[in-house]
């Protein structure tokens, strides 16, 4: 399991899954505290029409146009939710439900109407991703990690998700103070002269970026699960935000690695021959972690119950 085959077949998907999970969990911490956890859900639904449109415009299945299309769709959805909420005086949950179901429906219809028979583009792929197919055929063993020629043949999703993770982490570090202040006490942040609205929009934009890049690599189930489950479990472990973020990174990594290994090797251990869906298993593991945190986490109680 730890030999050349592992480096070629399992290492790239595990790394991509882990980095995608962390890139989503980071902004997820702030969305969770702002009670905007479902933004990730909405964004990952509307990505579908975005990539379908990008395909129809360019005629090819290529990563960058699709990521641009997905990003644009995410932006449009956030604007639409905001517009409908204000114009119609509708509560945010309902406005979100109206927008993301409609855009997803439009995406499915577009997909069915356009001729995508020659390319690999379907709803299932968008939902589950294709983590298992991100293999590194050039690798001959651990030595390949120092072989420039072999490294050049890494799946392109890996450098993309690393870049995304660096940008997301950099932005969180850079804007740490304003992010924290505006998350915990918006009124106070405003009196300090911080651009509270811009910070909110920036956070959603950051989340959208992470969602789109991760979606490209791993599909939307992992994206939704990683936005919410690791930060939620982390929130039950500690009262301090810094510690919460480290816990969430740990949980995201554990979900990705354990989920991939269970899906890929679990059936073999049980005597089966076929691997299971890695995306589904990663989401399931993150759910088990959240369940354990909800049962035993030191800071699990609702605040009213704990102090009262």
């Amino acid at each position: 399991m730890m030999g050349a085959e592992f480096v070629a077949l399992s290492l790239p998907p595990i790394l991509i899954g882990t980095f995608a999970a962390i890139a989503c969990a980071l902004p997820g911490n702030f969305l969770l505290l702002r009670r905007q956890a479902l933004i990730g859900d909405a964004i990952s639904h509307v990505v579908l029409p975005g990539i379908v449109l990008a395909f129809l415009v360019t005629g090819i299945v290529a990563a960058w146009p699709m990521m641009l299309g997905a990003g644009a769709a995410a932006l449009v959805s956030v604007l639409l939710i905001e517009t409908i909420r204000r114009l119609g005086h509708i509560e945010p949950g309902a406005a979100m439900g109206v927008v993301f179901t409609t855009m997803f429906a439009a995406g499915v219809l577009l997909l069915e109407q356009s001729d995508t028979s020659g390319v690999h583009l379907d709803v299932q792929h968008a939902l589950y991703g294709n983590l298992e197919s991100l293999i590194w055929l050039e690798a001959t063993g651990w030595d390949s990690l120092w072989d420039a020629q072999a490294l050049a043949a890494l799946p392109p999703e890996l450098p993309r998700i690393v870049l995304t993770l660096l940008v997301v982490a950099g932005a969180v570090l850079l804007f740490w103070r304003p992010l924290v202040l505006s998350t915990f006490d918006e009124g106070f942040a405003r009196t300090l002269g911080l651009p509270v609205r811009a910070i909110g929009v920036g956070l959603v934009g950051l989340a959208a970026m992470a969602a789109v890049a991760a979606f490209d690599a791993v599909g939307s189930i992992i994206v939704i699960a990683m936005f919410i489950c690791p930060p939620a479990a982390a929130r039950l472990m500690t009262d301090r935000l810094g510690a919460q973020i480290w816990w969430s990174i740990g949980f995201a990594t554990l979900s990705a690695v354990l989920g991939y290994v269970l899906a890929g090797y679990g059936p073999l251990w049980l005597g089966g021959v076929h691997a299971l869906s890695a995306a589904g298993m990663i989401a399931s593991v993150s759910g088990v972690i959240l369940l354990l945190a909800a049962l035993f986490g030191p800071c699990r109680a609702a605040s009213g119950l704990r102090r009262g």
């Binding site: 969770l32 439900g97 429906a105 189930i221 992992i222 919410i228 959240l290 800071c299």
Partner: protein
Amino acid sequence: MAGVLRWTRPGRRVRVMLTEALFLQLGYNATLVTLGAGLLGIAAGVTGVFLVLGKRALVSDAVSHATLPGIGLAFILMVMAGGDGRALPGLLLGAAASAGLGLLCVSWLTRRTRLGEDAAIGAVLSVFFGAGVVLLTVIQTMSAGRQAGLETFLLGSTAGMLRSDALVIALAGALVLGLVLVLRRPMTLAAFDPDFAIAQGLDVRRTELAAMGLAMAITVIGLKIVGLILIVALLIIPPVAARFWSDRVDHVLALSGLFGGISGYGGAALSATAPGLPTGPLIVLLAFALFVLSLLAAPRRGVLATLLRRRRAIAPGAGR
């Protein structure tokens, strides 16, 4: 078929097909499906009003995604028992069981931990769906070579639907609709003004649970036609659209049922006219069209009415 219809332009052919579909002349099965979808739409529209009024619209999203593992498990159990894994009543029973579990998880996480309802919804939605996807891959390996076709529950599919399936859906939809109409007074009170409802001696928690249970029933019934990803749209969009037209609950209920019914009926009829027109998305897009119409044109609360009022307020007597 193309040979027979060579003398008509394609546009005309679709129009003819659409009139036939709308007036239920496409054959017995298509007619049954269209009627079933219409009834489902009415029931969903009426049930959804209580969800939206109680500001719990997205709980139904968690519930609908939570049906997937139940469908998978039901299929596996039925095959292991030696039966046909695709029997609709069994699959729906499994879906209802896991949806119920999902609902319990949402309310447990919300009440027992410091997490908000939004986080609980997102967690249940993604984890249950992920577990369902794992089960689907188990099924693929299990019945090697035999197409389970469970993927159709993701987006719904009316193609190849059995007559008995359509009947199950129509009857269950009618049952839910009847229950909602019987329970509408207490559910309205609980959704609008829980404190007053408690003062009136109403068991608010049980009433809310009943409302959620009915919404859950709708998601389960709608799986086959609309699919589990989009069924929430039928519970959310018609009530939101209907809310623009009136402040009275009875009117909103009637209108929401009407909008839902039109969407379900029209969407199913449209999708029967040509291949490549999936039923679920068409139903949702029709509902959205009715929503946009309501947002713009409703008297008093609509955007146009608001604009007109504002203009009149700025220039009083300008037209005189």
